[in-house]
Symmetry: C3
């Protein structure tokens, strides 16, 4: 089984300054640990809401660390300091609008303010980059909604081969692939 | 209670030339009057379908008039003179794709041609800009669908504080905000 | 009744090299033949997954052949050689995000990997361009989902007037149009 390298980026002025603990980044790693049967190595970064820093961090995790999957949390709302979406779109070679549509559709079942989320996803080098919300509860809802498509996406971009726990998450790969 | 300044822009070659009356702009103001308990001041503009004029009008309402909310009606279809979407995207600092997705999803319950709408939304300076359809009936359907997220969005971009009539529209703000 | 000129572009390195037969392009023409009562002329092109070639082909079919409708199949996934979306967005004057949203929503009823599709649509000169998936089964699902809006869209962009078989597909034009 391949070892899966996953980048986890928390963008938060306050968490990166140590004002409060980053529980969102931990929630992501716990959820992915439950999904995957592979050994998983996390490259974890907790950084401020600065677009150039976010861009550099995604690129480092994609080009240098060669993570198969990079997930961000935070910075996708309409406020001035919310720039994770901008950073993601700037460094990705391709955008995958279906991820944002699906995450907003799922979040909309819980709160009407889901339409304020600018969550995006895309391909940076050979990494799938996905923007998750900032709140731990919403993170799990969004990951559950899009993860069934993640392993096949990673196959298509020549990433590592993910093997998932069928009792936790039902993923889909077309037959013969 | 804050006074709410709302910009209403009707883009229509014919209405702006006086060939017919603009009933869409009036429908927007009536609907927002029903939603809001605050005193509301409208900055109303009826202009032709020219992209530079639409851009200048949005910017004037955002930067000079400091409207918390700017709504447009018309110019979001696929025809050559439909350029309100282009103008909106050109002047906004951030786009909020969830608004367009949600308005198309709601309109799709009524007409399959809802997918032709290019309605967008975004943040211009400290104003939330929302493209509404041209037809009065569709305007109300779209506003009802997205308005529950509008007051919290305006909070996040440091706009005026909207207070709404719960019997007319259920809006959502996260607890403690 | 107007004669309808339809461009059909299969983008596939292997089909264009003769390694396998293009059944997707044929599936599109059969489906459109069932929809339309007009005489229909097809401009069919089977080309490699090269962005400049795809762009030139769309432009030739839009500007020189003056097709009312141009449909592509293939090249909308996340893989490196999937560049049909990029080519479409580069040559279109306007994009119609509602088509992609609707096609992904429909495909999502069958497979969770539908969110990987970057299918787009837009207006190039006076042609409506629609990206369809590569697989014949998914092509029919997507065309059935968006075609009800196609004839009215072609009216709005001054294309030929499509007349459809009501027993096969229910299209919609607003009253009095």
């Amino acid at each position: 089984m391949d070892t899966i390298k996953v980048g986890v980026i928390t963008t938060s002025d306050r968490a990166s300054a140590g004002i409060y603990e980053d529980i969102s980044g931990k929630a992501i790693m716990e959820t992915i640990n439950e999904y995957l049967q592979n050994d998983t190595v996390y490259e974890y970064r907790c950084i401020s809401d600065d677009q150039p820093i976010i861009e550099d961090t995604i690129k480092e995790l994609a080009y240098k660390q060669e993570c198969t999957l990079i997930v961000t949390t935070g910075g996708t709302g309409p406020a001035k300091r919310d720039v994770t979406t901008e950073a993601t779109e700037a460094v990705c070679d391709k955008l995958l609008p279906g991820f944002g549509e699906q995450m907003r559709a799922v979040s909309l079942q819980y709160v009407p303010t889901a339409i304020l989320s600018r969550q995006s996803a895309g391909i940076c080098h050979k990494s799938l980059v996905i923007n998750l919300p900032g709140k731990p509860k919403s993170i799990k809802e969004c990951l559950d909604a899009v993860f069934p498509a993640v392993p096949y996406c990673c196959d298509l971009i020549e990433g590592a081969y993910m093997q998932t726990d069928e009792d936790v998450i039902k993923v889909f790969r077309p037959k013969g692939k």
